[in-house]
């Protein structure tokens, strides 16, 4: 598959702080690449460097096979960006905002009109065309922000945390819209610290921390890295150290953690882990109110790689 983005050895320093540390990765045509990492991990800085907004000390960036510079107007024509912050004019209506930004790419009025309608439909703002940004809720504003970034039907889209502080209804709407963009042939770079979104949307994921790539691959590949096959969470009234030691001696156990009244048991692999744990709790007369098993999440991967949670 064609490489849409090629980044080699990208390094960006702010005085003494290394925001991006020798970053190398590729994005292939038609895929959604997720950049996952906690706040300050270098996701937005990476995007700003790719867009030639920021100077960087080392490395090369090729987009659509060409070097990216501030005056690479032909490349910029194919790119759409949805910034983390709301980037719209307060003084213009929903329709006018989209028309203005789309007009920077599409000069033909008729084509632009159609594109604007498509974008409005994609984000579900049909009933708000004449509204001013201050009249919109946070979720609707985010949708407008997206429409302004993608109305010109770009081939490459950067979405920088587009769902921050968005209500569940708007979030679903936005995620559905992004899937439709991918289906229409766009290549997407999606940054977030919401692992659930990455799991739902992304074909490939890069986990970033302190400007470095910790791991990359598909969701399944990354989970294998964490060496966890199953996670069981139990809400207990009381449990003794003796019982915890017994659980720790299970042959496939990975880790046992007690946090307040929540016992989290992770397993490397194995079958019937839940049954064996319930038996153990019953035998030792441990009273529990809730017990459930789940597959490991990307947060568990991040935890096992860095020792901290994604949202820390």
């Amino acid at each position: 598959m064609k490489k849409i983005i090629e980044v080699k050895n990208l390094t960006k320093e702010y005085k003494k702080l290394k925001a991006i540390d020798h970053l190398s990765f590729e994005v292939k045509e038609g895929e959604i690449l997720g950049l996952l990492g906690p706040n300050g991990s270098g996701k937005t800085t990476t995007i700003n460097c790719l867009l030639s907004l920021l100077k960087f000390q080392e490395g090369t960036i090729k987009i659509f096979g060409k070097d990216m510079h501030p005056n690479s107007y032909e490349l910029k024509r194919k790119i759409g960006v949805v910034f983390q912050e709301i980037a719209v004019f307060e003084e213009l209506t929903v329709y006018e905002n989209i028309d203005y930004f789309c007009g920077l790419y599409i000069s033909d009025k008729e084509t632009r009109k159609k594109y604007i309608e498509d974008a409005i439909q994609l984000v579900g703002l049909e009933n708000y065309k004449k509204f001013y940004p201050k009249q919109l809720s946070g979720g609707l504003l985010r949708r407008l922000n997206i429409a302004c970034g993608i109305a010109h039907k770009p081939k490459l889209i950067f979405l920088d945390e587009p769902t921050v502080a968005v209500d569940p209804q708007s979030r679903n709407n936005i995620l559905e819209g992004i899937k439709r963009l991918r289906d229409s042939g766009a290549t997407i770079v999606y940054t977030t610290h919401y692992m659930e979104e990455v799991e739902i949307l992304c074909d490939r994921i890069i986990i970033l921390d302190k400007g470095k790539i910790l791991a990359q691959g598909t969701s399944t590949e990354l989970k294998e890295l964490a060496n966890i096959d199953e996670k069981i969470t139990v809400e207990v009234e009381k449990i003794s150290e003796k019982v915890i030691d017994k659980i720790k001696r299970f042959p496939t156990i990975h880790e046992v953690n007690l946090n307040m009244n929540t016992l989290i048991v992770t397993y490397k692999k194995g079958q019937d882990n839940l049954g064996k744990l319930i038996d153990c709790l019953k035998d030792n007369k441990v009273v529990y109110s809730k017990i459930f098993s789940e597959r490991p999440t990307l947060n568990d991967v991040f935890l096992s790689l860095t020792g901290k949670e994604l949202r820390d």
Binding site: K55, N71, Y73, K76, F83, A87, E91, G103, Y105
Partner: protein, 391 residues
Amino acid sequence: MFWHNFKYSFKTLIRNKTLLFWTFAFPILLGIFFHMAFSDIEKSETFDVIDIAIVENNTFHQNKFFQKTFEAFSQKGENQVFHIQYVSLKKAKDLLKKEQIIGYLQMDDEVHIVVHSSGVQETIFKYIVDEVISNQKMIEDLASNEIGQEYSKENATIDYNKIYAEITKLVYSDTESLDNVSKTNLSYTMIEYYTLIAMACLYGGVISMFVTNYKLANMNCVGKRTSISPISKIKILTGSLLASYVVQMIGLALLFIFTIFVLKVDYGEHILPIFILAITGSLAGLSLGIVVATFVKAGENTKTGILIAITMLGCFLSGMMGITMKYIIDKNIPIINKINPASMITDGFYSLYYYPTFHRFIFNVVSLVIFSILMIFLSLQGLRRQKYDSI
């Protein structure tokens, strides 16, 4: 693309209530304030003959031109401007100390004016002396040309008296018109209205700074979005700057309409030159806004503060808040007022007041245009291919 940017920049500016207040409403409110504060003063104002002294020495006695001119200004009657005492330097200083005169004139290698304080009478004194000096220079130049031409002819005979008489006649007609202009138009209120127009022109910088900030990725998110578009910043900015200029012009037009038709301000016979000066002055204000937006690396509020501080300083140095400052700067650091747009505007207005010809006015208008073009050019160069260390 140009009109697309123009259209939306215009809409953005015209719907911004804060900007509208400062551009449209604030100058009008100030105009109302001036009207309320000065209209009564104006009604009771009468033009008094100005008491001055001239130091008698050899230089003054040898300068017939100065002698005759000041005799004309001190002739008793309706048009008398000065009451002159011809005294020694010591006596002149003494009269000034006792405030029996507002100032004295002393001639040696140069012409010196010493005044007691700043004020309208001192302003008139200063401008008339300046005018006499420039006319004397003109006579000398013209006379030397005439003499030169006569010498170039064979068997030339030169009638010095004729040359002097003709040129002096010319100068006296100028002097008379200067005197008339001073007497008919000079008022505190008019000076304040001119100051108001000049300030309104320069505050146009806030509008151009506002639209420029929207093109800078390090200023706001819209700037980031604009910076990643496939259009050069210069192209985008050109349409936006025209829009801000149009908005500024609308603001000025409203100010003129309001002062002329509601406050009944009489701008006299020079209304057209005043418009021209306001239009070029606004261009200078606009260019100042772009320069600050482009080259000052700070937040939006800091930039606004810096722009207003520069404007206020420029106004102060140009004499808008007391004409004495203009003299001090002109005398000691003349280059400052040569590059100060506020000074170019005020000097342009005052030249309409005090000079019968338009040479000085045109010089100021041309200076403002050159200043504006230079500032806009520098800013556009500064904006090209800009990448940031941090955003």
